[in-house]
């Protein structure tokens, strides 16, 4: 039995409704996807074993994340708003709370190959980031979380000898330190809005952070100030994605583009990946989440 099949059958026992969704997600995927998933999960299992954890622990974390999302989604369907409005509140309850942050991040790690939007957005990054590797001498990742993007960037950007990975949560940094080859990485524990640096960066990645702040334009302006004039930024952010730590609600892709334009960035290329089996337009109409990703320049 593959690790992926093992995971799904354990989820089936604990949360059959969610298992249906994972099965549907995976049924449309080709052999290449399955091979990549299996390689990722093999590494992930090693990472778990190294830290005295096992697959049952990981699945428990993942299903807690799913339970949180289910509750937030049900509230969102009625209120049409995210339940959080204060960054300070989310910081205290979530980022600064190892008990919650640990299962939340472990759950997101496992979601990489169970949710098609996470898989496709990483593929988009892997396909397009190499176009910029020649010009990239230093690299910053904001809100690096578990470190999945960072791991790929270390492979892709061969000219960079020091990667900077910043996160507001100590728990995220601890997980990333163990998940990536950390010899080349400088970890910074800080709120991005308070991060000061003499140098500017050639490439900045910021996956799923824009929806975690009260003022996304202010956050992108901060990234602009950290980016050199010819530099490239890669960002991702979801629409209509209620979660315990999401604050700023983008209702459709156009609202994201507007924030990008207002902060003075230009879009080089973009992608939209719906979280259910439907087109992005249909998803926007129904209030169902779409993952948005884009490469930006000044």
């Amino acid at each position: 039995m593959t690790i992926l099949e093992d995971i799904i059958s354990r989820v089936e026992e604990l949360n059959p409704i969610h298992a249906k969704k994972i099965r549907k997600n995976i049924s449309g995927q080709n052999q290449e996807f399955l091979n990549k998933a299996e390689n990722f999960l093999k590494d992930y299992m090693q990472f778990l074993t190294k830290h005295g954890k096992d697959l049952d622990y990981a699945i428990d974390c993942y299903l807690k994340l799913i339970d949180d999302m289910l509750y937030e989604t049900i509230r969102f369907m009625t209120s049409k708003e995210y339940s959080n409005s204060s960054f300070q509140d989310v910081n205290t309850r979530i980022y600064d709370n190892p008990e919650v942050m640990e299962y939340h991040m472990q759950g997101l790690l496992l979601s990489q190959f169970l949710w098609i939007q996470h898989y496709k957005i990483l593929e988009f990054f892997l396909e397009n980031a190499p176009k910029h590797q020649d010009k990239t001498g230093n690299y910053l990742e904001v809100g690096a979380g578990h470190g999945i993007f960072l791991n790929s960037a270390i492979d892709l950007f061969s000219k960079v000898d020091s990667f900077t990975a910043l996160d507001i949560s100590k728990s995220s940094i601890e997980i990333a330190k163990n998940f990536v080859d950390s010899s080349k990485v400088r970890f910074v524990h800080s709120d991005i809005l308070k991060f000061e640096e003499q140098d500017t960066f050639d490439f900045i990645t910021m996956g799923e952070v824009l929806e975690h702040v009260e003022n996304p334009i202010g956050l992108l302006e901060k990234l602009k100030s950290l980016l050199n004039d010819n530099g490239i930024t890669f960002i991702t952010t979801p629409t209509n994605a209620p979660a315990i730590d999401h604050i700023y609600l983008f209702r459709n892709a156009e609202e994201i583009r507007e924030v990008i334009r207002k902060s003075g960035f230009q879009i080089i290329s973009e992608i939209q990946v719906p979280s259910e089996d439907m087109t992005a337009e249909e998803a926007h109409e129904k209030g169902i989440s779409v993952m948005y990703g884009a490469f930006l320049k000044k």
């Binding site: 059959p16 969704k21 289910l70 049900i74 369907m77």
Partner: protein, 79 residues
């Protein structure tokens, strides 16, 4: 409202939300018994049940819904 009445109301909501007139709910019915009962429709079901029954479930209740009986019992306990 007793359990049987709640079950009957839920049956109507399931028929409408899942668009399947053949559904006959029992206390033991799970998502494995009804093909259309997937995660997206599950959310729509809970939202619809809250609206119709004029009730609001806690996160603890919602995450414990493993079969129709769990939903019936939750509603009954609130009345």
């Amino acid at each position: 409202m007793d359990k049987a009445e709640i079950l009957k109301k839920l049956n109507d909501i399931f028929i409408n939300t899942l668009d399947n007139a053949d559904i006959v709910l029992k206390m033991e019915t799970t998502a494995a018994d009804i093909e259309e009962w997937d995660s997206l429709r599950h959310i729509m079901l809970v939202v619809e049940i809250e609206k119709t029954m004029k009730t609001k479930f806690t996160s603890k209740e919602i995450t414990k819904f493993k079969n129709v009986g769990d939903i019936v019992n939750s509603i009954e306990a609130k009345k």
